[in-house]
């Protein structure tokens, strides 16, 4: 069979490009991170400047670190390893370059638009709609380039790293598209088609699984390539790879609602979010075990090899973060930790420890191989490792202490549990200030480590000869002989898939069916599992043979992966989208915003207020004592995007409307410290200068009507008249209180919005639960 032997040159140019971009954007993203962390300590660092304010820069930090730093690192790792694992050069040099430059252009566009306040107002999904389309397009370019390469492979079977890359590509596409469905009102602004609880559910289905399929699965694939390469040891267990891959991609998707525990989200979704998060612990640790145990027999190399140091530490941090995640997903732990710095610490354990250290390890490993020169300084790399590790520990320990301290203070009651011990939110903020400062130190150390990496890279590659990897192959090697193709029947009609599908179907019947159906479902699910176990015990070689055959077939493998990841989201989201506005408003319906209030809301979103303020009073006594009656589903149904928030650097605002006079809000936005001593909120002087964009309102209201908000069909003149009427009234009220501001200023619209928060109509006939207060 072997015919002509040819030498194949890999496309390592694009790998070098992505690698250098990783480094550059990583340092930029971390620098912004250290800056925004400093702003939390010293409000003066907001410089009274809109595009430097925390609410606009924090999204820049998160987007830069996730999509620019880890994104570029992922592409570098995937392109480098895939070419070698499938023995084929990347399919298209053009697509590779389009991918690289397209992605960098998107990052630059994001770095410009986010500080300008152009945002969709959803975390990690802030980019405006034209950029969303660009991201989707470039992702498709990536996918085509990747799958085309697989199609031209000379390696018949797909290695475990490739499984993770496939899962990444299909799942991120699905998540990104659904969570970015929007209707534009202008070239730079749009409203998400989902609102309220739907939007919240979709957002965290996306947000949680961005962590899973953007920050975890591609990096696991990279781990599966680079750790065995660097350690020169075989991967610990192939069957563990199989089990943890499929359980991870299936279970991860369901866990999204753990970001919304104790909120108005229906209980059944909270239960799924919590229990599936717990079930996620073992699959996550499967990856950690396979990474760490691959180092058996190579541990001594950790003493000398910075690559293995970084990677072993990264996998350990991964294990810590994926243990902490399920822990935080327990409802009662979430009650304490959610909205606090504990969550911030948790994500940074993953981002700095897992992603950052994997990136560093990968870069140190690739440098000599891509530039044909040994690393400039191993001791500098070791210094990087220790500075980075100490930085992470500082950061995470500070955030744990800070989060738990603030959580306990916010929950503390006295006088027999009837009164809050710390009724002033700012008291709890000022208690954790030392920890907030320590976090800056930790983050600064970590950044310093990356600067050392940058220096090391520069010294290594300056004047070095670039080198592209090559491999000798036979030019007529085939991927799969026709007899080994599984085909449609082979994909679905085989014991593992059938048993899984049936058990899943029965389990759903148990969870969601009426009495009879649920009993049938439970019995059926257990029966399926027993049958599957028995069948596997007697015929496990057949199972193994089927899986080996599946690994030769990219398309069937991809289809099965997609089904596994799509199932959880469909089961959670579809019922909520269908049932939402009918029956599940819990007796209250939000009063739609007036045009002026809507304009104010868009200002609230533009300034990124949601980064520090939630609008969701949880079904927890400390929340109710502090902020009032807990939020009902119906009270945010017209919110596109929803603004429930995920962090309370400041207090919740769900019922702030009517709590203070207009002039309080004016003074507070002018200089928060005049009415709230010790606050770390920025000043917003530009709201007093900018005029409210009334001209945009007709288009905005038209879109709002289209997505289901019951606005009458007002003419632009009617809208303007309404705006003027309400704004004049507020300005008069402010004047009476001694504050002079023109009625067309943005501050007036924002005050109108804030004073509206918490307004609802009682809806009779629906769920009439007695209220607590």
């Amino acid at each position: 069979m072997p015919a002509k032997k040819i030498t194949l040159e890999f496309n390592d140019k694009v790998v070098r490009q992505f690698l250098l971009a990783t480094l550059a954007w990583g340092i930029v993203g971390m620098l912004v991170g250290v800056f925004v962390a400093s702003q939390l300590n010293f409000f003066q660092l907001n410089f009274n400047t809109s595009w430097l304010s925390f609410g606009r820069l924090r999204p820049l930090h998160t987007n830069a670190v996730i999509f620019a730093f880890v994104g570029n690192m992922m592409f570098a790792g995937i392109y480098y390893s895939t070419q070698r694992l499938v023995k084929a050069r990347l399919a298209s040099d053009f697509l590779s370059q389009l991918h690289f430059w397209g992605w960098q252009a998107i990052i630059v566009a994001a770095a410009i638009t986010l500080p300008l306040g152009l945002t969709r107002g959803k975390e990690y999904a802030e980019l405006i709609w034209p950029l969303n389309i660009a991201v989707a397009f470039i992702w498709v370019v990536f996918a085509v380039n990747f799958f085309w390469t697989l199609a031209r492979r000379r390696e018949r079977s797909l290695y475990v790293a490739i499984w993770f890359y496939i899962a990444t590509i299909v799942t991120v596409a699905m998540l990104y598209i659904v969570n970015h469905l929007s209707l534009p009102t202008s070239l730079t602004h749009s409203y998400p088609i989902f609102g309220g609880v739907q939007d919240g559910l979709v957002q965290w289905w996306y947000g949680h699984n961005a962590v899973a399929f953007f920050l975890t699965t591609p990096i696991l694939g990279i781990m599966y390539y680079f750790i065995p390469k660097a350690a020169e040891r075989p991967v610990y267990s192939y069957r563990l790879s199989i089990i943890h891959f499929w359980s991870l991609v299936f279970v991860y998707i369901w866990a999204g609602p753990h970001h919304l525990l104790n909120t108005a989200l229906p209980d059944w979704l909270q239960t799924l979010g919590m229990t599936f998060s717990l079930m996620l612990w073992a699959p996550s640790w499967g990856g950690m075990l396979n990474g760490l145990l691959t180092l058996r027999g190579a541990w001594h190399k950790l003493r000398t090899d910075p690559v293995l140091k970084f990677m072993a530490a990264a996998v350990t941090f991964y294990g810590m973060a994926t243990f902490e995640g399920p822990l935080l997903s327990i409802k009662s732990v979430s009650a304490l930790g959610h909205y606090t710095d504990w969550i911030v610490g948790h994500v940074h354990l993953g981002a700095l420890g897992w992603n950052g250290f994997m990136a560093a390890g990968m870069i140190y490993w690739l440098l000599p191989r891509l530039w044909n020169r040994p690393l400039h300084s191993t001791s500098l790399a070791n210094t990087h490792f220790w500075i980075g590790t100490v930085g992470i520990l500082f950061y995470v320990a500070a955030m744990w202490t800070s989060g738990i301290t603030q959580g306990l203070m916010l929950s503390a009651t006295s006088e027999g549990g009837t009164v809050l011990t710390y009724p002033n939110f700012v008291d709890t903020l000022n208690t954790i200030r030392p920890m907030m400062l320590m976090r800056v130190v930790g983050g600064g150390l970590y950044l310093t480590g990356f600067v050392l990496l940058g220096y090391n890279v520069w010294k290594t590659i300056r004047g070095a000869q670039v080198v592209n990897g090559t491999i000798e192959v036979f030019d007529d090697e085939e991927t799969a002989a026709p007899a080994e193709r599984v085909g449609v029947f082979g994909t679905f009609l085989n014991p593992p898939v059938l048993f899984s599908a049936m058990a899943g179907g029965f389990a759903c019947a148990w969870m969601f069916g009426d009495t009879t159906l649920s009993i049938v479902g439970l019995v059926g699910a257990v029966f399926c599992m027993v049958c599957a176990l028995m069948h596997w015990k007697s015929r496990n070689t057949a199972w193994g043979a089927w899986y080996d055959r599946l690994l030769i077939n990219t398309a069937p493998f991809t289809v099965l992966t997609f089904i596994a990841v799509a199932a959880g989201g469909m089961i959670q989201i579809i019922p909520v989208v269908i049932a939402h506005r009918g029956s599940t408003i819990e007796g209250r319906r939000q009063v739609p915003y007036s045009p002026l209030e809507l304009a104010g809301r868009d200002i609230y979103v533009r300034e990124g207020c949601y980064n520090c303020h939630s609008q969701m009073i949880r079904t927890l006594v400390p929340d109710v004592l502090r902020y009032g009656d807990y939020s009902r589903l119906g009270e945010s149904i017209y919110d596109h995007p929803y603004q429930w928030g995920s962090k309370r650097t400041g207090p919740d605002l769900a019922r702030v409307g009517g709590k203070y006079p207009d002039v309080w809000h004016l003074r507070h936005m002018e200089d928060p410290r005049t009415v709230s001593a010790g606050s770390n909120m920025p000043n917003y002087p530009w709201l007093f200068q900018n005029a409210t964009d009334v001209k945009a309102l007709p288009a905005k209201l038209a879109v709002q009507r289209k997505i289901g908000v019951p606005y009458p069909n007002w003419t632009p003149e009617q809208i303007e008249a309404r705006v003027n009427e309400q704004a004049t009234k507020i300005a008069a009220d402010l004047r009476a209180a001694g504050a002079y501001v023109d009625h067309n200023r943005e501050i007036v619209a924002l005050i109108a919005y804030l004073q509206h928060l918490g307004k609802f109509d009682e809806v009779s006939g629906a769920d009439n639960r007695t209220t607590a207060q």
Binding site: L85, L289, G416
Partner: protein
């Protein structure tokens, strides 16, 4: 690869870019932690969402806030408004019902309907809108506290104590509506 590869370790025949794979058994502790979390999911779902044995989130917070409100109310002045508020609070009503059943039901019957339910009962109906000694909350409270010895209603204040008398008043009021038409009949003070 390694100078001394561990023995008895099955290794997969295929090599990917120099990477080999063992096929080691899954660690038992790992498998069992997966199984335990799956069993936990089944149990938790059954407890809260299937059999509805566990309370819902809102039930938990409503009950907890009710208790806090009860504590706050017990410090408020005993007037009509305060007693009406207590009649909407489960803590007062439940305690009042317990005290009523053990102390008052002998004459007024457990239902509180007294003579209306059974002519053999000693005490009058407390659920209808007709009152003998006044139907305002403070009047009801007063009657229980001081009694109407000449009509056979004992002086309960010293026996039950202030708290239980208030609880019973709240319980009785929970069977009534604020602002309902009251007729006062019979004995003059």
């Amino acid at each position: 690869m390694s100078p001394t590869p561990p023995t008895d370790e099955p290794i997969r025949p295929h090599v990917f870019d120099g990477i080999q794979e063992y096929d080691k058994r899954l660690p038992n502790w790992w498998l069992y932690s997966l199984y335990v979390t799956i069993v936990f999911w089944i149990g938790y779902w059954a407890y809260y969402e299937w059999l509805h044995i566990g309370p819902s989130s809102t039930e938990v917070v409503d009950a907890a806030m009710g208790k806090i409100e009860a504590q706050r109310l017990s410090a408020t002045k005993l007037d009509d408004a305060g007693l009406w508020q207590m009649s909407h609070n489960a803590t007062f009503v439940e305690a009042g019902q317990a005290a009523f059943v053990s102390n008052c039901a002998a004459c007024h019957l457990a239902s509180g309907r007294g003579k209306s339910e059974s002519p053999a009962a000693i005490g009058p109906d407390l659920i209808d809108t007709a009152w003998i000694h006044g139907g305002r909350p403070v009047q009801i409270h007063d009657v229980i506290m001081k009694g109407v010895p000449e009509k056979g209603m004992p002086t309960w204040g010293p026996v039950l104590g202030a708290k239980k008398v208030t609880d019973i008043t709240a319980f009785l009021l929970s069977k009534h509506k604020e602002g309902e038409p009251i007729t006062v009949e019979g004995a003059k003070p």
